[in-house]
């Protein structure tokens, strides 16, 4: 099923003549390639710095407000990139809060940073993505046994050296998985790059489809994009496969040290700064405009319908995706073969294909193969599952990899059949990973715009759709409440995930 959009893309791009391919190559490809790779790289670095530092501080020190800090680091996940970009473009405008603050502090001496650049896009996407790195790095840091680090310290390594040479390599699988998620988000992002006018592959594909109605050129570009991300994924796998670490459940857990007073200030200064830009400021902005809307009595009952539609869709899509992803993850985590890798990578194609391309692929498939389904939620669900399958596969597989095979073998030795073993041993042990997968998909579905915009059943407006409709005509007062509902809607899901993590 995941291959439907890919087949559509391959089929459509086959209809591109070689001349048009050459034309594309001459006019766009080199720039697009450079822009996209650059953006992916810078955002990956940004997310690493933000995510690992915050995860390390939180995992290694006990301090006042630690739980709050954890939440603050995860909450940016609730804000879609288009909302981020929208908020920051208006904050940094001349009459925006940040713009005014900048002029008050620097006057005319230093020009305000221009957000309509690659750096602006990288800034926004890093803020929107570092939470993935934080989550996985923190879990991994908490689970790693302290003995290795202690051994390094005993051998005379400084704390920094111990971190750099022991801890960081141990983190590698987690970081690789997190970065894969981040980079795939960057490659498929439309919200931020379109608002900031930074030409990436995805944006260019949209332009082809929107401006020229040229689906073939769009498909051609999509194919290049898919190739690019597959290359990236294969590289990532290559680096990750060289090492495999198994944690055994009996190892001691790390005891986080109580932070000293000075450390406390430093920690909060660092985390506070990250949280300010990645969540607090956007939240205050959204609350401000929602309040304006409330006072102007612009919020009607239909907002509850939009919220309900969004949550319903998120719930269904996440559940279906996690169930479908499980066999793929199991297969690949247990049997390494050419075929299982192939299957795995194939499932990740949907994530990088732009939403409209996935949508058109699914429409075409459903209309020709099972037309009776058309028009209902099923079509939209299919597209969402195709898009977010890789997220679920990634995190379930990461959990499976940390599960020592001997535990499963023990189950089999004790007489459990494969199914019983799966149900009573494997699934309970990877519960955390499954919950994480569910939540990640849920959140992404909740934020998803392009495919939903095209495939939603008639009259089935979700929150992102409303945000898009209202913000395209600059109706801040109407877009902000929808964004607020979106943030509130993700809270229970995040709470479930954090609880499952603590339970481990």
């Amino acid at each position: 099923m995941a291959a439907i959009p890919l087949l559509f893309v391959v089929y459509s791009s086959l209809q591109l003549s070689s001349e048009r391919w050459l034309g594309l190559w001459d006019t766009r490809l080199p720039d697009l390639l450079a822009n996209t790779v650059w953006l992916g790289f810078v955002v990956a670095i940004g997310c690493l710095v933000l995510g690992v530092s915050s995860a390390w501080l939180i995992a290694r020190r006990q301090f006042a407000g630690r739980t709050v800090a954890i939440w603050l680091m995860v909450l940016p996940l609730a804000i879609p990139t288009y909302v981020f970009a929208y908020i920051y473009t208006s904050l940094l405008a001349d009459d925006g809060w940040l713009g005014l603050a900048w002029v008050a502090v620097f006057g005319d001496l230093i020009a305000m940073p221009d957000i309509y650049t690659g750096w602006g896009a990288a800034f926004i996407l890093s803020l929107a993505g570092f939470s993935y790195v934080f989550l996985l790095a923190r879990t991994s840091l908490m689970q790693s046994s302290p003995s290795m680090e202690e051994a390094a310290r005993m051998q005379g390594a400084s704390p920094f050296e111990a971190f750099w040479r022991v801890q960081l390599p141990l983190l590698r699988p987690a970081l690789a998985a997190a970065l894969a998620v981040v980079v795939l988000h960057v490659l498929s992002d439309f919200g931020a790059v379109s608002m900031l006018q930074y030409q990436t592959f995805t944006l260019s594909i949209y332009t082809q489809m929107e401006g020229r109605m040229d689906n073939q050129a769009a498909a051609g570009l999509s194919l290049v994009l898919v190739m690019m991300s597959l290359t990236f994924l294969v590289l990532e796998r290559f680096f990750r496969n060289r090492q495999r670490y198994f944690s055994s459940s009996r190892a001691r857990r790390f005891q986080a040290r109580q932070a000293t007073g000075r450390e406390l200030v430093l920690i909060w200064a660092c985390l506070g700064l990250i949280a300010l830009f990645s969540f607090v400021l956007p939240l205050v902005w959204v609350l401000h405009w929602s309040w304006q809307a409330w006072r102007a009595e612009l919020i009607g009952t239909e907002f509850w319908d939009y919220t309900r539609n969004s949550l319903l869709l998120g719930f269904m899509a996440a559940s279906v995706t996690v169930i479908i992803a499980l066999p793929v993850a199991l297969y690949h985590a247990r049997i390494r073969s050419w075929l299982s890798s192939c299957y795995l990578h194939l499932s990740s194609v949907g994530f990088v294909l732009p939403g409209p391309v996935v949508a058109l692929g699914v429409i075409t498939f459903v209309l020709t193969q099972m037309p009776l389904l058309y028009g209902g939620l099923v079509v939209l669900l299919m597209a969402l599952v195709v898009r977010f399958l890789p997220l679920a596969v990634q995190s379930q597989e990461a959990a499976l990899q940390q599960l020592t095979p001997s535990i499963e073998q023990a189950g089999r030795v004790l007489g459990a059949g494969p199914l019983e073993n799966l149900w009573r041993v494997t699934l309970p042990m990877i519960r955390g990973g499954m919950v994480t997968a569910w939540v990640l998909v849920f959140i992404d579905v909740l934020k998803e715009l392009p495919a939903t915009l095209i495939l939603r059943p008639i009259g089935y407006d979700t929150l992102p759709v409303r945000i898009w409709i209202e913000s395209s005509e600059e109706m801040l007062e109407l877009a902000a409440p929808a964004a607020l509902m979106l943030i509130l809607g993700t809270l229970p899901a995040l709470w479930i995930m954090m609880r499952a993590e603590r339970g481990r």
Binding site: Q197, M209, G211, M213, L312, S319, L367, I458, I469, E473
Partner: protein, 335 residues
Amino acid sequence: MKIFKKLGLSLLGVMLAIPVVQAADDELIVYSGRSDKFVKPVIKQFTQETGIKVVLHSAKSTALLNKLKVEGERTRADLYLSNDAGNLQLGSDMGLFQALPKAVTDVIELKLRAADNSWVGLSARARVLVANSGVDTSFVKSVFDLADPRLKDRIAVTHSGNGSFIAGVTVYMEAAGVEKTRSWLKGVKDNVGGRTFDKHSKVVKAVASGKRSVGLVNHYYIYRHLDKKPDAPIKVIVPDQGDGEMGVAWNVAGIAISKYSQRSAAAVKFVEYLVSEKGQQLFAEANREYPARQGVAASVEIPAVDSIRASSVEMAELGKQRNATIDLLEAVGMP
């Protein structure tokens, strides 16, 4: 596994409890590329008067056109509403629409609708210049003056992917020729000062704040800005009004009936209402555009329709020449 079961059961309960909202069979479904806010007043009135319900399915004009095309005869859309005549003409060329009764479209002048009646224009907007009133821009009389070296780094335009921008360039290309337009675009590219804007409202803002001196926008964005800031130092220049000049570029928002509509009788009624005097007033007023039907008064704030001369380029050309325009924009490397 308890957590799964609990979660699953509780949410399953929620799912079953709430019915999925979907359009009922007796409602007209409109694929709309125009902001809801501007369409809802007229729909409300129409439903009140006729009892026919109308559901808006909003998305980007072109995405909806793509959808209509892929769906073919299985589409549930009865009507297609777009802000851009180019999209309507493209849909017509792809054979997605059915002809409207002549009696319905006759009230709209031929220039603002398809020759074969496959779509009809509802409201028109002018591509005008907005200038900062504190700066001397007396030499700016034409859109082509935007390429004047005196305006280096002082003009504001949207990026070249913007539908209104493309439509405008198509008009200039048709009225003044490809070569003149090409060299004009090059001049504009030199004058934008390194960046274009992603929204028209930001173009107006940049001019009002003095960062730029002149901007190219659809007329209603200027009045929208003045709503919020009545004292903003901006003025409207209606370009190319001199004798022998091409006149200001128009674009229309319009509507068409899907070829496969199951409720075309009701759909025709809706279009009939939209071109009626009352419907025209409601539709155009919501966004301060010019009613397509002659004799219906536009908003008093905007320049009176008989005081400005519009270019003679037919709206259908906006669709036919769109790809040629994009080719030109790309060849110039317009940002």
